[in-house]
């Protein structure tokens, strides 16, 4: 066994131990350790990706030398490795972009606690990506929830505590349903390792027995994860959680945490239940319908919102809707589109959050829409970055969002009876997206005296004053362009990765 194959396990353990370690360090040291850990894990994920690309097949890593079905396993394929790499990149940039806000908004003695949470969050995300064991997944789902609550609550004010409580209640409901689903599945199949469950499920579905428990279990797991990733009717916790928490928390929560759960759902579809069985069940139709409703309701809510942070948060609901709509199509093309959208939305949403905070910095820290008038002139880099993010969200060619839309539409036209609904939903949601994002872009580029607003003499912010944020913004813009222009190899990577899943 090559040494590289140990790296996924090492990266999970590394971040898991970096968490407790941070609790005895000062905030500053914890910060550097955290950045170093993310960088190291990113490099290790890249090495793993290289290894899997070279060998061309996935491998299973046995933990503690107990063979299946007793031991715990990690399984690494193209999709897992590339997701781990991507998550590390985005998390690094989020932490970089939000460092100034953290030092302002987090009380100093608690600063190291923040890094405890971030490290734990990273380890749980990696575990969700790599694990081959359903119960391990559950355990890390819980770790993920708790650390995410910490990330929301660390900025102490009434709204964040309320938001964190709501998040906690909804998330625990989601985990509860997920656990219930696992119990059903364990009851029926007698296994917790994904590959073993799948064998049994295939046998069961061929024989046609235990049809209803399987369906219930699939439904419970899907709904549980849908709650945690804020699919439409379960989205109420989201705007406050993203809108009032500190910048890096909002960016990480929106771009990574919800995506981790969605990735787990993809794994359940392909590695646990088997996509054919999922397709034959009615569950995906439910996801499809709620995805579409979410796409539209989320955008309408965003249009009505006058707080820019909350507006971006509502737009997340719409984008999560896209992803579930892709699953709902029930084709591999749809899932590939969804996976690509996971990536493109993560990159874009984090960019938008960081850029929006750059704009509010230049508007006296007000997130109100009218105070942002002309902010694009006061903070030029943030203005450009916000424009890029908005264009990507609207689906402007050259940027990541356009490729997602194209993939969704392609997947949509392939399925005969869902074609019209998909395309109409895409069209409506695109126009709605254009309404609120373009409205904001225009607002930030309207000089105050022309908008008929009294001049408030906000200070200008140059790129040099906030070097960390500027670097993060530039990297995010580049990432978006890479996803938008060099999409073909990435899509191929996902296709091959999905093939390895089966």
């Amino acid at each position: 066994m090559a040494f590289v194959q140990n790296l996924p396990f090492i990266s999970i353990i590394l971040s898991l131990f970096a968490g407790p370690l941070s609790s005895i360090l000062s905030g500053k040291k914890a910060k550097w350790i955290n950045l170093a850990v993310i960088t190291i894990i990113g490099c290790m994920s890249a090495a793993v990706l290289g290894f899997v690309l070279q060998s061309g097949k996935p491998y299973v890593y046995m933990m503690g030398h107990f063979p299946a079905p007793w031991g715990n396993e990690i399984r690494v394929g193209l999709l897992e490795a590339s997701m781990a790499l991507f998550f590390c990149v985005v998390m690094f940039l989020c932490m970089l972009g939000g460092s100034r806000e953290r030092s302002l908004e987090v009380e100093e003695p608690k600063e190291n606690l923040y890094y405890v949470m971030v490290n734990l969050l990273l380890s749980s995300l990696l575990a969700l990506i790599y694990t081959n064991d359903l119960f391990t997944a559950y355990v890390f789902v819980e770790i993920n929830t708790i650390s995410a609550c910490g990330l929301i609550m660390i900025r102490q004010n009434g709204r964040t505590i309320e938001a964190a409580t709501r998040y906690m209640i909804m998330s625990l409901l989601g985990s509860g349903l997920f656990l219930l689903g696992i119990c059903f599945l364990y009851d029926v199949t007698g296994h917790l390792l994904m590959s073993n469950i799948k064998e049994q499920v295939t046998l069961l579905s061929e024989s046609g027995t235990y049809h209803i428990p399987l369906l219930v279990s699939l439904g419970l797991m899907s709904i549980g994860l849908a709650i945690k990733s804020a699919l439409y009717p379960f989205h109420a916790w989201l705007p406050d959680a993203y809108g009032y928490s500190t910048l890096s928390s909002a960016a990480i929560l929106s771009s990574l945490v919800s995506k981790g759960y969605i990735f787990l759902l993809v794994k359940i579809f392909y590695r646990v239940i088997g996509f054919d069985v999922v397709r034959d069940s009615k569950v995906i139709n439910v996801l499809f319908v709620f995805g579409i409703i979410g796409m539209i309701i989320g955008s309408i809510d965003a249009i009505k919102e006058s707080n820019i942070r909350r507006m971006i948060a509502y737009s997340s609901i719409a984008q999560i809707g896209y992803i579930y709509m892709g699953f709902g199509l029930g084709t591999t093309a749809g899932v590939i589109a969804s996976v690509f959208h996971i990536v493109s939305h993560a990159a874009t949403k984090a960019l938008l959050f960081v850029a929006a905070s750059g704009l509010t910095d230049a508007s006296g820290d007000s997130t109100d829409f009218f105070d942002l008038t002309g902010a694009g002139y006061r903070n030029k880099l943030a203005g450009v970055a916000f424009t890029v993010g908005s264009l990507s969200m609207v689906g402007f060619p050259m940027f990541a969002g356009f490729i997602s839309k194209l993939l969704f539409a392609q997947a949509g036209v392939e399925s005969s009876h869902k074609m019209l609904m998909t395309l109409v939903a895409l069209a409506i949601s695109t126009v709605l997206n254009a309404v609120y994002f373009m409205k904001t872009v225009i607002r930030i580029y309207t000089p105050e005296w022309k908008a008929g607003i009294e001049k408030k003499n906000f200070t200008k912010v140059t790129a040099m004053q906030q070097p960390a944020k500027s670097v993060a913004l530039v990297c995010f813009i580049l990432l978006n362009l890479v996803l938008g222009l060099g999409s073909e190899p990435i899509i191929r990577l996902f296709e091959n990765g999905l093939k390895m899943f089966a």
């Binding site: 019209l420 373009m438 073909e488």
Partner: protein, 501 residues
Amino acid sequence: MSGLMLLPVFLPILAGSGILVSSVTAKQKKAPDLTEEARNKLHLFSAAVLVVSAVLAIVLAWSGDLSLTLFYLMKDIPVFFHIDGIGRVFVTVISVVWTAICIYSFVYMKHEGGECRFFGLYLVVYGVLVALTFSGNLVTMYLFYELMTLTSMPLVLHNGSREAIMAALKYLFYSMCGAYLGLFGIFFLYRYCSSLTFTPGGTLDPVLASGHEGILLIAIFAMLLGFGVKAGMLPLHAWLPTAHPVAPSPASAALSGIIVKCGVLAIIRSVYYIVGPDFIRGTWVQTTWMVLALMTVFLGSMLAFREPVLKKRLAYSTVSQISYILFGLSALSQTAMTGALLHVVFHAFIKSTLFLVAGIVIFQTGRTKVEELRGLGKEMPKTLWCYTFASLALIGIPPASGFVSKWYLAQGALEAEIGIFSWLGPVVLLVSALLTAGYLFPVTMHGFFPGKSGAQNVWKKQEPPYRMLLPVAFLALMAVLLGVFPNPLIQYFGQIAASVL
């Protein structure tokens, strides 16, 4: 050789971005207005870049059917450049007109200010336009089409007033909605066409398409409406008369002469090169298209007729004239298409002349209304002669150019089997030509013969500088000359029409 195709696209884009970036950094040094020296440098640089790219673009375009695949957006969707007949025609017209307008604006933009921004963007838009005409498939075209909207929008809001910003917003919003209607159609065509590469006569797969004609026709209609936004077709024409008057005159000339034509190009590409004309012949799509085009021709002329502001009048005139082209395309006959392509070329020269003349008047006197132009011929006779020649061409008085294209349009309509429209079309075109005379000639007449009514009887000569007048004279001359010697054009366009129909 085909790698050279990147040069006329990226050279102006990079040079333009360079100017934009340097202007931003210059602002931070708190430099006031441009110094004379800096201005000369800027002019020389932009002119050099533009001329080099334009010459290169034209030479490349006429040196054979080059193709170049840049990279793949997705499996089987490359970003792909290919030059064919239509692209060749468009790129030539665009390059010539764009260069002429550029020379004109060197003087004009002095009084508008913000020259770095203007010329930077102007170069970028040129690069995007060249890429648009070189595009070899629908997705590449869409990519650069959107980019054109985005980069040309700041040209509209150049003077930065609230009115200009609102107009730019309107332009952006209309164009984006239009483009998304187009994209909606592209999604469907991707499903039912064998490829999205432009092929004369279309790539629609009859086997795949059978049974889905209804939905496909809706998709095609969405594309027509969507790309028709840029071309100012009813019902989504309203951005045009708002955006043109507030933009600086060279920008309105470029918008009206060139950018609206790109809407036409997109329609030609999707109807004649992807769907194939036979698919929509005789369907409700063709009928509705013709009705919309003819309504636009008539309404545009009527609105122009009662419009007091010269630039706005010209904008309405553009609405009407572009729909001449669209009507020619909707007839789906060879002669009509030849006429439409001729009108594309002629109108580009004519309308940019007219807008530039309106710009000269604003530059020299600050007048914008038609009634204030009394006695213009005494003040600046050469300018008004240019205007007169261009209006003659637009009205279609032989031997000036508009006559030729309108002749072919009418002939084509009569030949085509389009029922009632084969005579209704020419009638509307004729009525609209009369209206055109009605709204363009008063300027000439009152300009040269001001009468004695006004208090002012002593006319001060105020011809514009030659660097402004020469490009206008050149464009006006082209507008007339192309009508006197139209044969090579007619032959070439006839070949193109024959290849797709």
